[in-house]
Amino acid sequence: MSGLYDGIGGEAAVNAAVDIFYRHVLLDDRIAHFFEGVDMERQAQKQKAFLTMAFGGPHNYTGLDMRKGHAHLVKQGLNDSHFDAVVEHLSTTLTELNVDQAYIDQVIAIAESTREDVLGRSSAPDEAAHV
């Protein structure tokens, strides 16, 4: 996977992306409310960790971490439409940064692979999510 991460531009790319991505998210009324009252600096760090993972970079997230981390949001009504919105912003951010479409597709695929865990749904036994 380091081919993807290095191809996009590694850590520098994550740093360039995080502010752009986080701004898109905060300006989107469909999902901004999930970030109310959240410590912005801490949230930006989490966005950075998420983007690092989505860009195929080094991380230690497991499917269970994604599940636990979003469980309180699922209780607040987090659903597919919100997940879609975030993936949309991921794509827009990478397009704004002139990343190759082939890489963008790979990043979206990685993000997609976390959908079931993020939304706290069970997946089929032979497709157990491990990120």
């Binding site: 502010d19 986080y22 300006l27 912005m40 760090q45 989490k46 950075k48 991380h59 230690n60």
Partner: protein, 322 residues
């Protein structure tokens, strides 16, 4: 092989071992999560020794300046003295030198520290009174420009520390200082960068320090200091800041009063006024001090106006229990 000194223990680094791994092997519990240099849970501070740059990647300039590093990514070549980030409990004895009213509610308090305390103008310090009462105050002084440590103390209704300082403390009285703490200070390296300093109440104290520090260090970029008050009586340092803007072409002082009109200030919410004057904060460094709700609100507005998260320093003055 290099060693890490931590909490009075000497830990020898094994081959290819990070500071985090070394301290864990020695039995210490160090907060950590991603172990990849991203989450910052393992943040520590080097009190002496050389920190490899790789261990400071992703940290704010102010954190790097204080020797902070990510222990999961730290592979030092030479001996390092490490400390927990929240364990800055070094106490310095200080003596009250003078008190002076800056307006009806704000007192300028100047302390003399027995051992000189190194600090960055704008950081804060915890005052620890002999009876155990502890409260935080931001430094308004600049070591190269001022004698003593200056603080601006607002009288809080029923406030134990502010009440004591206003009504009872006399020159010669002693207390201990813990710190300095905080990230709200000027770092040289980008002398032409525009700076936005915005605060309410005694949030002016650290902003006043940061502005003078920046100018003293030769900052040439525009510096805009916005002070917000609810009523005109809450303004202070008006003449001083006006003189500062006369003396420095790049320094601009904006006084906002929300609830009263007047000839020498703008009647407006300070954040609305600031963002009207500077709608895009892309490339700016932003310092926000004072009322917590306002600080958090402006942090968000500043970010959405284009300021990078790395360049926003938010110091919310949270009230204590009493």
């Amino acid at each position: 092989m290099a060693t890490v000194e931590f909490e009075a223990q000497h830990c020898e680094l094994a081959d290819g071992e990070s500071v985090l791994e070394c301290l864990e092997r020695a039995g210490h519990s160090i907060p950590n999560s991603c172990r990849s240099g991203v989450c910052h849970s393992c943040l520590m501070r080097a009190t002496s020794g050389d920190v490899p740059p790789a261990a400071q990647k992703g940290l704010k300039e102010t954190q790097r300046a204080q020797g902070y590093f990510l222990s999961c990514c730290c592979y030092p070549d030479t001996d390092l003295n490490a400390a927990r980030v929240d364990g800055d409990s070094m106490r310095i004895r200080a003596r009250l030198l003078s008190k002076e009213s800056l307006n009806e509610r704000v007192l300028r308090v100047v302390l003399d520290a027995q051992d000189s305390m190194a600090y960055f103008p704008g950081q804060f310090v915890n005052f620890a009174r002999a009876d155990g009462l502890v409260r935080s105050f931001s430094l308004a002084s600049v070591p190269q420009l001022d004698e003593g440590l200056e603080f601006h103390v607002a009288l809080v209704p029923g406030g134990k520390m502010s009440g004591w300082l206003h009504h009872e403390a006399v020159p010669g009285d002693e207390l201990d200082l813990m710190g300095p703490l905080g990230n709200c200070f000027y770092v040289a390296g980008n002398p032409e960068q525009p700076l936005l300093l915005l605060g309410t109440g005694t949030g002016l104290a650290p902003l006043y320090a940061i502005a003078r520090d920046a100018l003293h260090q030769g900052h040439t970029g525009p510096i805009h200091l916005f002070h917000g008050a609810l009523v005109a009586a809450d303004r202070y340092l008006v003449a001083t800041l006006s003189r500062l803007s006369e003396a420095h072409a790049n320094f601009n002082y904006h006084s906002c009063v929300r609830d009263e009109a007047g000839p020498t200030w703008v009647q407006a919410d300070v954040d609305i006024h600031a963002l009207n004057l500077v709608p895009s904060l892309k490339g700016w460094k932003v310092y926000l001090c004072g009322n917590p709700a306002l600080v958090r609100q402006v942090q968000r507005k500043a970010f959405l106006a284009g300021a990078s998260m790395q360049d926003i320093y938010a110091d919310a003055f949270l009230p204590a229990g009493g």
